[in-house]
Symmetry: C3
Subunit: 346 residues, 3 copies
């Protein structure tokens, strides 16, 4: 694919500055690796020092950075978003090649759209439905009565248990497990009774799910992942959880059962949300934090403890373990001080 800078400017509604209207662009790259046929971008003002050295044909940047660029640039309010759109134009994903691989095993009552693609090694259960232009990658297993929406893509080896619904334009990476039984147990005299999971799992439209993430089905009702939710790799979402639209979670997040997460929340990597709590809309949770209580809408909570030099940390941690002793000593000092002062006042 190749476009002139002028075409890119018009197509993505950027202002072309510094000339180069007819310059041909064939690729995208970062500031320091771009060659003379590449376009690059500057979103972080700290990287302005790299502008002078870049070999890129053009730079996408905002009007505040424009003056720092000596050469062709596309000026726009959100340079990274425009760069992404240019990248998609120059490096488009191949369209889905329809067809069912002869090595796939499709139940007789399953319905696969004509325009869909099912790769080798897939196993698709009774009454399952695969939507228009959906792409089921190699080795995926789709359970009975589950449905994959139009234009969704499952990469390799995704497992979808029975009665799971996946929306449209949703992308699911390799190794993901959707709709396994939740972890419900009842204690009995001898051991544990497993709680049957009669609920399902609903995944919205435009969702991304990263590699080896697991999302369990509900106990009596459904587990629900809203539209536009973006999940990174190795995330665990337990039974009966509800995640609101456009919420984003970085890798290794864990959410315990029956917790509700609002819309447009930002949840940092390795954060752990306890069960039966509510995270309000637009809340932010710092990476590695343990969220033991509900968070109000718009709230921003954290319990990150950054590492420090290990010898010093050993003393710090030992002192934290005995923090009550510090508190006692302060109390004792306060009493002595009061007595002394009282004594003097007399």
């Amino acid at each position: 694919m190749a476009y002139t800078l002028g075409e890119l400017a018009r197509r993505f509604d950027c202002r072309l500055s510094g000339g180069g209207d007819d310059r041909t662009i064939t690729g995208v790259a970062s500031l320091d690796t771009a060659g003379p046929d590449d376009i690059t971008f500057l979103a972080n003002p700290k990287l302005r020092v790299q502008l002078a050295g870049t070999l890129a044909a053009a730079v996408i940047l905002d009007s505040e950075s424009e003056a720092h660029r000596n050469g062709p640039c596309l000026v726009t309010a959100n340079p990274y978003a425009s760069f992404v759109r240019v990248a998609e134009l120059l490096h488009p994903e191949a369209p889905v090649q329809p067809g069912i691989h002869p090595g796939a095993v499709i139940a007789s009552s399953a319905v696969v759209a004509e325009s869909a693609r099912v790769d080798a090694g897939c196993v698709i259960g009774e009454s399952a439905r695969i939507g228009e232009r959906a792409w089921i990658g190699p080795g995926c297993v789709i359970g009975e009565q589950s449905a994959i929406g139009a234009d969704s893509r499952l990469h390799a080896r995704v497992t979808v248990y029975p009665r799971v619904r996946v929306g449209e334009r949703t992308r699911i990476h390799a190794g993901v497990v959707l709709g396994a039984d939740g972890f419900g147990l009842v204690r009995e005299e001898e051991g544990w009774l497993r709680v049957p999971h009669l609920g399902g799992l609903r995944i919205g439209d435009d969702v991304d799910i990263g590699a080896n993430t697991t999302i369990d089905r509900g106990t009596l009702e459904d587990t629900v992942i809203g539209n536009g939710v973006k999940l990174d790799n190795l995330i665990q979402i337990a039974h009966n959880v509800i995640v609101g639209d456009h919420t984003v979670m970085a890798a290794c997040v864990g959410i315990a059962g029956s917790t509700r997460v609002g819309e447009r929340c930002l949840i940092g990597g390795r954060a752990n949300l306890f069960g039966h709590i509510t995270i309000g809309d637009d809340a932010t949770i710092a990476a590695t934090s343990a969220v033991t209580r509900s968070v109000p809408p718009g709230g921003y909570v954290s319990s990150v403890i950054g590492a420090q030099e290990a010898g010093r940390w050993r003393r710090t941690a030992a002192r934290v373990h005995r923090i009550e002793e510090l508190a006692s000593r302060i109390r004792a000092l306060e009493q002595r001080m009061d007595e002394n002062n009282g004594g003097r006042e007399e």
Copy 2:
């Protein structure tokens, strides 16, 4: 499936109260979603306020909650357990349909019971054994000389390495990896020498293992998971670990090498157990805790730090990092106080 309330009472040894002996029950649901043909339950006294509004035909509850229910109910000591049993009766799992899918690849010396089922895409190695009524889901890989016990079920895409033994009535969810080599390394001048893992892995009877969990084989002896152990998703159990009967671990727990976990322990989600320690029987470990030392039988340990408002937490964490400075200032105050008092006493 449909049963009268009277039949359910007799079958599960509950006392029928509030009439409705002939009422037909066809489903189970929660208090707030149950319809007029459903049975529901009340285990948490806080939910008693929902009793008045439920449309359920009957409620399973204990004698203390009985007076709060105006209508048919089944009275029993453990309402949730009885509810689970009713749910299993009304929504039974389909019995295993025996047979080996023609797309499965079975080594000539492998032995699959007549009553077992092996789905499409499975690969079963030499001398492996699949027990009576066991169900090996699509895409599973069973290594040489491994054995799956009677009535066990492997969901899709489970990997069982060679020489792993899985007991009876054990259920293993999709993506689980059993018996990979442990992480054993010997430092050498240039790089690392990988330690061969000659031990095996034994999984007991009535075990549950959640999606994408990994359990490594032992170095020289076996890694062992006892009977009735229940493991949630994305758990990591390292080489040479021994887990006692009926112990329960929530999602994302990690256990380092050679640690021994007792019987009937409760291990909260994301807890991390260091290597070469011993957790006594009936111990409890709070979610997200780092267990660096052994825990005595019946012990209950924690190092959870719940998140607080992020700005406040930033100051808190910074102060924690300098907690030794607080301790020094307290010590200085104590000395000054002693000197002052000493001075006055003279």
Copy 3:
């Protein structure tokens, strides 16, 4: 396999002591489980008390432990390394049996070496290359244009996305996902724009990767895992990360995007490295630590908080949350002390 003690001594350059030159050795075991045909080892001086009781034919140990052994032993500077070499000799891995299983699906332009092995259920994409003596286990998916180096082994159900390069003698365990798209998002007015991942992933020679670990491809450049790197299970490595040669990471480590990890680092289990930081060569990171800033070469950092008895911990954690109050009280005491002393001095 069987060797005499004398042969083992000569082959691995150990000094035979205590006789037994002609003694036949057929197996390896630990000190307490070894039988009379086994060889064992002693690396940890604390276990010397077990020397008297071992039934092993011989013990591999260092010269400091030699005097504690009454019987045949092989004396060497690094007993564990020698033991590992003996174990590999006595229990060698079977050589790779070349051949492509008829149930594998190989694209017409893919190149599989004559000496390589591809198991049932594999799907290998266009222009992929499988090197000499490489072994692709059952159910693996190798994307277009990806390459697996000579003598490397992929265990069952590994997913390799397109344009990923894996080096030689590298071992990848079941369920691993290599080269999925990184988690790159641009916020837009309504929801999120997914950043295309045009970079690749390069894995070096002699790397080990544990079960269900995920390593994402880069955004514009490659994610890179150096030679000799050893990764345990369930690790997450995000896009654009660079890991230096011979670095070791225990299970459940998470590394956020664009972080650079040096050579020969030791990263403990469940450690979490934030994005865009640099870990110097030879650094050590304690298990479960959150690394929020760069670490200098040779540095050793930690933020582990070990669990304590839960009731006591509850008070500790509550006090930590109010640590600023302690600081304020200390400040107040200091002021009062200064005023008192000032008063007295006047």
